[in-house]
Symmetry: C2
Subunit: 754 residues, 2 copies
């Protein structure tokens, strides 16, 4: 390994980067003031917004309280787990940075969401009288806060670790990445279950049974539905992208150190700092112009401006910082070219994924039109066409992502994994803009909800909000595609770090790898099957958790309609808080099983079957996870927009049979695209990080003088036992919707109507 202590100049550079990260936070503060200064609209709007704010804050508080217990346990485990190449100082640093990563992840989610629940009502107020530009600006800047905090905190953590720990920073940062990823996964799963339980429940009992429109104030689940948009789409996504950002930096630092020493660690940070600058430029450049025909145009412009700025600055950084000649074996290009081209690959990948996802989920393109058209033959053909669209689109996304990894492999030569990690950094130079785009979605969705519920909106304002909501749907779908791409690149790079860890640990134990990592060993084939299996199980668990929680929402709303007939005639006010409460409790309870599965499955495979099958497990999970995540996201996105297409008048419009068919498609798609699909991103990274963290322990218990088969298998069995118990317990809870409905005093509303 090259010398990897930072030189004085490099230290100074990292200090500058630390300042840049703080500047990002200052810029976020500036955006906050710009947003909060806007008018908050009518009293009714404020009242609704307050209910959403309270519900969302209450949920996150409870979630953080629950997760704190979990974080403490992991903290202790991290102190116990051996470090391949370092002492107690590194161990403690890693455990502490685990807490820092988790806290930052939570903070990004919390601040982003808090601001989103302020921005929504201001956007609704600004839209009145047809205020397209101000409404747009508020929504996008609200997103901008989220984006800047994401990149600011991510960069701050990494730079701080490097300043404090110098050459042991990569190991310490494993903790940072793991904390971020773990929190993000729980927020993704919990938020995803919350948002879709409320949404599906509200739709089932509102649109389907009672025949009242979406966001109707008589539906007791509407506030929960809007809270869900914030805790799921906003807090969850922000934490997820923060975590991608952190994990990608971690992987790049680990591998950079292996291949190029200290400059290999500093360079990824420089790329990230460049990303901060590019994001500021991009966010400022995003303003609707006179010639823009859709709201998507300025958003795309902001993205491309940011990408171009990044590339220019990265080119300068590569050729000033990186050496012209490397001493890595088999390097087909100079380190300078490697650095620049790898980042370029990432930036191009982001743009390509954006186009591809747009093609498969925009209303104006053929795929969604085909799904919409299939509504004429009923729900079955809507479902089938959406599923085949999702399956196929996943393949094209996989080809793009695979192509990027392969491209990095070709230019990387002996340092291929570092090139992959840098491509991941490139993908994330535009992270600030991407998070802004994404948050645009829930904010405009909420603004529409608040306007609808309050009734305090004119026609021109309603049209503005409808148009911007459609834009938000598309930006949400696009950022999901980019999120999975970052996840795959980060996971592939982490996987390389796993290999590096194993090699170091084996060397310490005085043995070598042999053919343990060979693809053709049958035990490794089993490992790959298990990796793919966990992706399937995780998805299935997430989807059924939504069904169960939605069932309870339906039950509660029905109950309220029945006991308080005045709700239907607007003379009584439904108890919104009760539904928010159900969603909060259920989603926190339901996230345990998939969460434990993600953390413990690699533990079981690693300690039970060994380092080879664990490596294969990660490959299986990456392969199946990539495809499953895109499949779920794009099927869901296409159904959502097919419904919008019919609602806009196609095939009979609202109220037609075709509309009913697309509503069914959309309901099926909800947990696909907003619960299971997006949670796969943090899942594959959490599993890779767990593997990375346990690698030295697995090797230690398998070979050398500390080998202890009993303890090793005992750990594996304990992990399996906990997962099995969790799955069984969650099955016991499966009081499905229909079951409750079979009791005589809880028939579905339509059935009880005379």
């Amino acid at each position: 390994m090259p010398d990897s202590s930072l030189s004085g100049g490099e230290m100074a550079l990292v200090a500058v980067i630390l300042v840049i990260s703080l500047a990002a936070l200052v810029f976020a503060g500036y955006l906050v003031r710009a947003v909060t200064a806007a008018d908050q609209g009518t009293e009714k709007m404020r009242e609704i917004a307050r209910a959403i704010q309270e519900g969302a804050a209450a949920y996150l508080r409870r979630q953080f309280r629950t997760l704190a217990v979990f974080a403490v346990i992991v903290f202790v485990v991290l102190l116990i787990l051996p470090v391949a190449d370092g002492g107690w100082g590194t161990r403690i640093g890693r455990a502490l940075f685990f807490l820092v990563g988790g806290t930052f992840s939570a903070l990004v989610g919390f601040i982003g969401m808090t601001l989103a629940t302020r921005g929504n009502v201001r956007m609704a107020a600004a839209a009145r009288g047809g205020g397209y530009q101000p409404a747009f600006r508020i929504a996008y800047r609200t997103g901008g806060v989220c984006g800047m905090i994401t990149v600011g905190l991510g960069l701050f953590g990494a730079a701080l670790a490097l300043l404090l720990f110098d050459e042991t920073a990569p190991v310490v940062l494993e903790g940072f990445g793991f904390g971020g990823a773990l929190l993000a996964m729980f927020m993704r799963v919990g938020g995803g279950i919350f948002t879709k339980a409320a949404d599906v429940g509200a739709d089932l009992v509102g649109k389907v049974e009672a025949g009242i429109p979406e966001d109707d104030p008589r539906n007791a689940a509407t506030i929960a539905d809007n809270v869900g948009d914030n805790v799921g789409d906003c807090a969850g996504m922000a934490a997820d992208l923060f975590e991608s950002y952190a994990v990608t930096l971690v992987a790049a630092l680990i591998l950079g150190q292996v291949f190029f020493g200290s400059v290999g660690m500093v360079f990824p940070l420089v790329v990230a700092a460049v990303g901060v600058i590019a994001s500021v430029v991009g966010i400022l450049a995003t303003r609707p112009g006179a010639r823009d025909t859709t709201g998507l145009a300025p958003i795309n412009r902001g993205f491309f401006v940011s990408a171009v700025v990044s590339l220019l600055l990265v080119a300068v950084a590569s050729f000033t910082l990186l050496p012209g000649v490397g001493d890595v074996e088999d390097l087909p290009v100079s380190p300078q070219v490697l650095g620049f081209v790898a980042v370029l690959i990432g930036v191009v990948l982001a743009a390509a994924i954006q186009q591809l996802t747009g093609y498969f989920t925009e209303t104006s393109r053929k795929p969604v039109k085909d799904v919409g058209r299939s509504s004429l033959t009923g729900p079955a053909t809507v479902i089938l066409s959406g599923i085949s669209l999702g399956l196929e689109s996943a393949v094209y996304a996989a080809l793009l992502i695979g192509g990027a990894v392969y491209g990095a492999f070709l230019i990387g030569g002996g340092a291929a994994l570092y090139a992959v990690a840098l491509a991941g950094c490139g993908l994330l130079t535009t992270a600030g803009v991407i998070v802004s785009m994404d948050t645009f979605g829930p904010v405009s969705d909420n603004a529409q909800g608040i306007a609808e519920m309050s009734g305090d909106i004119d026609e021109a304002g309603a049209q503005v909000l409808t148009d911007l909501d459609a834009v938000g749907n598309t930006t949400k779908a696009i950022t999901k595609g980019i999120a999975i791409a970052t996840a795959v690149l980060a996971a592939t790079a982490l996987f390389g770090s796993y290999n590096a860890q194993v090699l170091v640990a084996l060397e310490e134990a005085g043995t070598s790898l042999g053919d343990a990592f060979s693809l053709v060993n049958p035990n490794n084939v089993v490992g790959a099957v298990l990796g793919a299996a966990v992706v399937f199980l995780f998805s299935g668990l997430a989807i059924s958790a939504v069904s169960r929680a939605a069932g309870r929402v339906v039950f509660e709303v029905r109950e309220q309609f029945r006991r308080h007939p005045g709700i239907m005639t607007f003379t009584e006010r439904p108890d919104y808080g009760a539904v928010v409460d159900i969603c909060t409790k259920d989603s926190l309870r339901e996230l345990a099983t998939p969460g434990l599965l993600a953390v413990l499955a690699p533990v079981a495979v690693g300690f039970g079957l060994g380092i080879g099958p664990l490596a294969a497990y990660l490959v299986g999970a990456i392969a199946a996870g990539t495809l499953m995540a895109v499949f779920l996201a794009n099927s869901g996105g296409a159904w959502d927009n097919a419904k919008k297409m019919v609602e806009d008048g196609a095939y009979g419009g609202k109220g037609s049979e075709a509309h009913a068919a697309t509503v069914i498609g959309d309901t099926v798609g909800d947990p696909f695209k907003d619960t299971a699909g997006p949670a796969i991103n943090p899942l594959i990274k959490v599993m890779n990080l767990v593997a990375l963290l346990i690698a030295p322990a697995v090797v230690g218990l398998s070979v050398g003088e500390d080998a202890d088969t009993g303890l090793r298998l005992g750990i594996a069995l304990a992990a399996v036992a906990i997962v099995v118990v969790a799955v069984v317990v969650s099955k016991r809870r499966s009081v499905v919707v229909g079951e409750m409905a079979t009791s005589p005093d809880d028939a579905p509303l339509t059935a009880s109507a005379p």
Copy 2:
């Protein structure tokens, strides 16, 4: 490699095995006579049966004509492709045995289907007056014919190759396996598209639009629907299991030769011969007894009798034939124990999969009940619960299959792959019984259809047929689970053979493998992602092919209703042949794209990216394929039975909202369980065989004196280009149902009704 020329005694033993294989065919002939001797029912029944027979035979004839062209091309390619370790004799033998394998596969499908289209009407006739026992016997014996031909021809081919080619038999048998697998894949895909296009089309226009029951003679698609049951479930499944049988034997022979020389080749044949005997016993033992409460009891009894007989005989064979001490390194048990325990693992796996699939798809168990209950909240929850059930059940199946492979790995030690192949042989010792069980499904389904359409059935007889149809649904689901297990074991073993081929080829080229097969190379990660991607793309293509073809069926049936109003009032006879014709043409056209993808994707990966990524590609395909196949099969099976549950009176019974919701679930499940899902079995084997066949050529063009990068990449690009063109062409065809319906003179029936 140990000496692998057959000794005189071994030659004699193989000759005996050849005789046993012929005896299996004779026993099939005996069963044929027993079936055809039965009464053919009323004139009306015969007439309907004749229409089905003609449609089915016409389809297969056209299919074989189309495939013959393809077979000739592959034959030529096989002559050109180099053989790793043999001369022109071996090459010609391999190409000829490719034709033999293909022909046998076609023959199994053709004979099985021909008899099924004879057995169906006789079963319907036998059921009249409540003839439970005779109806059962005819259905099961019809299946028995199929089963005995499958094992007879498979064993005959393998034994013949061994007698003729001695130690070069394994290479020759690669051709045999490939021919069988390729034909089976096309029959699975083509038959699957045919059957579900007819079924979905008939349901959409009949049940949903016109409101007439299933199998109503006024529906022009009914005959096509019944033809489809035969060409899909019967011919396709028989060819598929034949192919599994052949491929498993091939893999066992290749690996047996590597590890144990000639006896390693003879032993798998002995296991298969034992399976023939066990199957005869099992088929004869399957007769409904007085104490059987369901039709499933005697069928399960037959299976278990056959499994026990197999195990006893295999125990004898292991301890007489195999050596007590092997000279393979790292063998944890003696070859005798290895042989017996590996086969035992396979037999146990078959029984376990049977129980597991039963649990997830039987009407009386919790999972299907949950899906049924979710029908109370509408189609969306039915779809969601079915999908999460499928995803989860796939994981348990993967755990069982993975456990079996891992078990074989543990006892196999240095010869682990041989143990995996033997476990595959063990799984297939009951193949004769399994095929009988499976064919039971379409025969009883058809019998019910014929009885319904002819109207010549009394109430008691109708009840018998309904009961046996439900039994058939379950046996069909169970055999699908076993089929995928055999596919995974065969693929894992084949994958080992791929490794062996690569090593031989590298040695000839004077180089070594290095870390080309290492899991952690990024290019290998890309390979794994591509392997999983092909499974997703293949599934998506198959599902959308069904949607397209079903659209055309709907169009035709609507057209007939409109032009001939007398059909609705029974005064005009619909043109059944027209729909059969559409299904035939469309399914043959639609099978090209997925078929080309399966054959050419590994060619593109192998020649384009190299032997490492190709190996990873196979692992990715096995991992994702296992899970996807079980997911699709079990979701579909559960929806089918949830519908049956409601039709039997639950939640409002036929005509209720709950029923409508489950019909939608069933329609979505149709292409899942009968087109895409089952076609994944032959898919993963075809891809493994292609990899095996091209391995020497890929190595030859990559290293050594014949290396030619231009030619190598040229072949890859050509393969990619053909697949891309095929996909684009199939997209162009996507005249989806709705599109046709938007023209004014083809609105859906419901919309045009006053």
